[in-house]
């Protein structure tokens, strides 16, 4: 496991987001359709990255509850885009899981309606690399 500082840097790098720009208005949380399902709320994501508490972030429910609808990305007045941070954290987890990726041929047979959207997105991202 890399140091949390390093991980926070990676999240910033993957997402291309500068969390320092956040003015804590909460519009992300106000926009989020999965707000009630989340343990760490979208606006809190920013401060977790700022405080480099990545451990809690990757263990959180929220990571997998985010629908990637990107309403927060669209509406954020400060270009902080918590959705992208969440996405980056997700990627971090997926990358850390090492070589357990799917091969592209395996994907179609695994598709089922219950599968969370974001897993698919991540899987395809991985494949593209």
């Amino acid at each position: 496991m890399k140091s949390e500082k390093k991980q926070a840097e990676m999240i910033r790098e993957i997402s291309g987001v500068n969390p320092y720009k956040c003015m804590k208005c909460g519009k992300c949380s106000a926009s989020c359709p999965s707000f009630n399902e989340m343990d760490i709320k979208p606006h809190q994501f920013v401060s977790y990255v700022l405080h480099e508490d990545i451990e809690s972030l990757v263990k959180s429910e929220s990571l997998w509850k985010c629908l990637s609808c990107f309403a927060c990305v669209e509406r954020c007045p400060r270009d902080v885009k918590p959705g992208k941070l969440i996405d980056a954290a997700r990627q971090l987890v997926v990358r850390q899981r090492g070589e357990t990726y799917l091969s592209p041929d395996e994907v179609p047979e695994l598709l089922d309606p219950e599968l969370p959207q974001q897993l698919l997105v991540s899987a395809f991202r991985r494949y593209r690399r």
Binding site: G26, K27, C28, A30, S31, C32, R75
Partner: protein
């Protein structure tokens, strides 16, 4: 060859403690052109100045070098002393051996050596100095105020009270501006019209003030003290001298489908109209786009009903050319367009309104006669939601990066007024921060919370969704409780960001006044010259310079007036003689210099040039000394080396470089 005197100051021990002044004097004597050198305890004292004067007389000096403190300190002192003694003040140069030498170096030998070099550089420069004469330009004792809102009115009144003629140019049919659209004003809740109307009347009745309404500035030429301005008086189609303001034409006008600008498009007005009842002048305007007579040629009802015979369909735009000494920009603001904020459903629901629209709804002369009601069905609201910072403090490309400054206070005002008049209406305010710096401002906001029970929620609204039943579903967040909120509201009020009135761009270009990325006019110095534009003779009043509330606007308007009065009080202006000068023999008329000049001081003339016996007509650059501020941008741009800066010429600076590197 110059006859130069060098005067080395001890500045008590400030200089003498680290610089061997005797050595500096001795070394200066060896420099070419130096015929006199001495040192003295305090050169800036009367005695010191007398020494300079005496040497100028006795030794017939043509140039003076004072080795002393920074020229920013005493250059003016020594130049004045030299002028008194009959020497051209611009033949004096300062070698800064205090701030740049004695105060920063500890080693006497090093400091003395440096002082000698600095003196040498100044002597080398003076050797090439030429006497300069500050030019004079005339001041037209008349001011132009662009914009007839509270800022423009206040500035005009203050200038006129000092005894100078003022013209106000206002683009709408009446003066009054945004303030006339407001219902009440914070933090004392006075009725806006009650405090504004007397000022409007005073301005229109003032013998020194001349108001051009329904007019726009078309062209500005000239420079500080002597601007020439073309004003387009748009065709009013009503004779101002005949109209009695009875209002019958407006009543009878059959075309009543034009959206009322004054009521922010919430209701309609007739094609012939005065924007509001207290309009000044109380003379209507025919809106030719909506007038049936102008559209089809068949109507002319207003002409028939007008007893004064004031209606004149043949009127044409008129251009008036006037001269002014000073120009004050007071173009004010507008609210931003909300088409990029579709999540608030402003375009989808009539019950989502801006705060300025709420002002009109609350106003007795507004579209609802002052009754708080939903514009969709006319029902009184039970739940109202205010959303702060709509378009303000945004660093994305949708809104404005700045804080609009007035929204926190007017929202508190609205909330308070609604709770006061309609106690059963629930008022919720979603805020990011409540910013209330100002006298009695925070107390005002706290009253809204503590005495009037306004529900302030720290958080934002993500979405407003109009429901089939006419309600607005508001999805927001309470960051303190860390809970998402879903609530139904009857009306949603958006604290919409303000931006400089779009007309300011054109005006800034005409005035060569600089403008920032947000279209606010830039001040000459952020702290020390806040009401002056960097362009001489142009002053800033009100929101055109940055977001402001009414008290600040009035204060700034007064300050701008004082600056304008200070200018108009002068009969003549001394111009900075260190201006650019073009060598007509070298100039090839390429226009490069005019392109970089920030003041538009360079123009081109075709002149008959005698180039060593060859006489021919050439296009050459001519610098207007009254406009040139002497930055020198043109001198470096000039490809043929024709442009030079007097007082800082190429040869002078090169001589300094040579002297330092020797």
């Amino acid at each position: 060859m110059q006859r130069i005197g060098v005067f080395v100051c001890h500045c008590g021990s400030n200089i003498a403690a680290t610089v061997d002044v005797k050595k500096v004097v001795e070394m200066a004597r060896l420099e070419p052109g130096v015929v006199h050198a001495e040192d003295y305890q305090y050169m800036c004292s009367e005695v010191g100045q007398a020494k300079i004067a005496a040497a100028i007389h006795e030794k017939h000096l043509t140039g003076v070098v004072v080795c002393s403190c920074s020229p920013r300190m005493h250059e003016a002192t020594f130049r004045k002393a030299a002028e008194k003694a009959g020497l051209n003040p611009y033949m004096v140069e300062i070698a800064n051996i205090r701030e740049h030498c004695s105060w920063i170096h500890k080693n006497i030998e090093e400091a003395t050596e440096k002082a000698v070099i600095l003196a040498r550089a100044a002597i080398a420069k003076v050797n090439l100095n030429a006497p300069l004469k500050a030019g004079e330009s005339r001041v037209t004792k008349r001011a132009l105020v662009i914009g007839g809102g509270i800022a423009g009115i206040q500035t005009a009144l203050d200038i006129a009270d000092a005894g100078y003629e003022v013209d106000i140019v206002e683009k709408t049919p009446s003066i009054g501006g945004r303030m006339s659209q407001l219902d009440k004003t914070f933090p004392t809740l006075d009725c806006s019209a009650c405090i504004l109307t007397p000022k409007m009347v005073e301005a229109s009745a003032h013998e020194k003030i001349n108001i051009y309404t329904y007019s726009e500035v078309e062209k500005v030429t000239g420079f500080v003290g002597d601007f020439t301005v073309d004003i387009r008086k748009k065709a009013r189609s009503v004779d101002m001298t005949k109209c009695t303001g009875c209002g019958v034409c407006q009543e009878k006008c059959p075309s009543k489908k034009a959206p009322s600008e004054f009521n922010r498009g919430l209701n309609n007005r007739s094609a012939i109209y005065t924007p509001f009842a207290q309009a000044i002048p109380n003379v209507p305007v025919i809106d030719r786009e909506h007038c049936i007579k102008f559209k089809t040629g068949k109507c002319g009802l207003c002409e028939k009903v007008c007893q004064a015979g004031a209606i004149d369909y043949t009127q044409k735009d008129e251009i008036i050319t006037e001269k002014y000494g000073a120009i004050v920009v007071a173009t004010g603001f507008d609210t931003i367009k909300l088409d990029k904020y579709d999540e608030y459903a402003y375009s989808q629901s009539k019950d989502v309104i801006t705060s300025l629209e709420l002002e009109r709804i609350m106003n007795a002369a507004g579209p609802t006669k002052g009754h708080l009601e939903r514009l969709s069905d006319g029902k009184p609201p039970k739940n109202m939601v205010f959303i702060q910072c709509v378009g303000s403090r945004c660093s994305d490309n949708r809104g404005k990066s700045y804080c609009s400054k007035i929204c926190c206070m007017y929202t508190a005002k609205h909330a308070m007024l609604i709770r006061d008049k309609y106690p059963d209406v629930n008022v919720t305010v979603f805020y990011i921060d409540v910013r209330t710096p100002g006298k009695n401002f925070d107390e005002f906001y706290r009253r809204a919370v503590e005495d009037y029970g306004v529900n302030y929620i720290k958080g934002q609204v993500g979405k407003v969704a109009p429901q089939p039943n006419g309600q607005l579903l508001v999805q927001g967040v309470d960051l303190i409780d860390n809970k998402q909120i879903l609530m139904e509201a009857d009306m949603v009020v958006l604290a919409t960001a303000i931006e400089p009135d779009p007309s300011v761009r054109k005006i800034a270009t005409m005035l060569t006044a600089s403008i920032d990325t947000n279209n606010f006019l830039t001040e000459a110095h952020a702290k020390l010259r806040p009401v002056e534009s960097p362009t001489a003779g142009v002053f800033l009043s009100g929101v055109c310079q940055g977001p402001k509330d009414i008290p600040e606007t009035v204060a700034q308007a007064g300050a701008a007036a004082v600056k304008a009065i200070g200018l108009l009080a002068k009969d003549k202006l001394m111009t900075n003689p260190c201006t650019a000068k073009s060598d007509e023999l070298l100039c090839n008329g390429c226009s490069q210099c005019a392109n970089v000049c920030p003041y538009g001081a360079i123009s081109y003339e075709t002149k008959l040039i005698n180039d060593h016996g060859i006489r021919e007509e050439r296009r050459v650059a001519v610098v207007n000394n009254a406009l040139c501020q002497g930055c020198g941008a043109c001198t470096v741009t000039c490809p043929s080396g024709a442009m030079d800066l007097q007082g800082f010429s190429n040869r002078q600076i090169l001589a300094e470089v040579d002297a330092i590197c020797r």
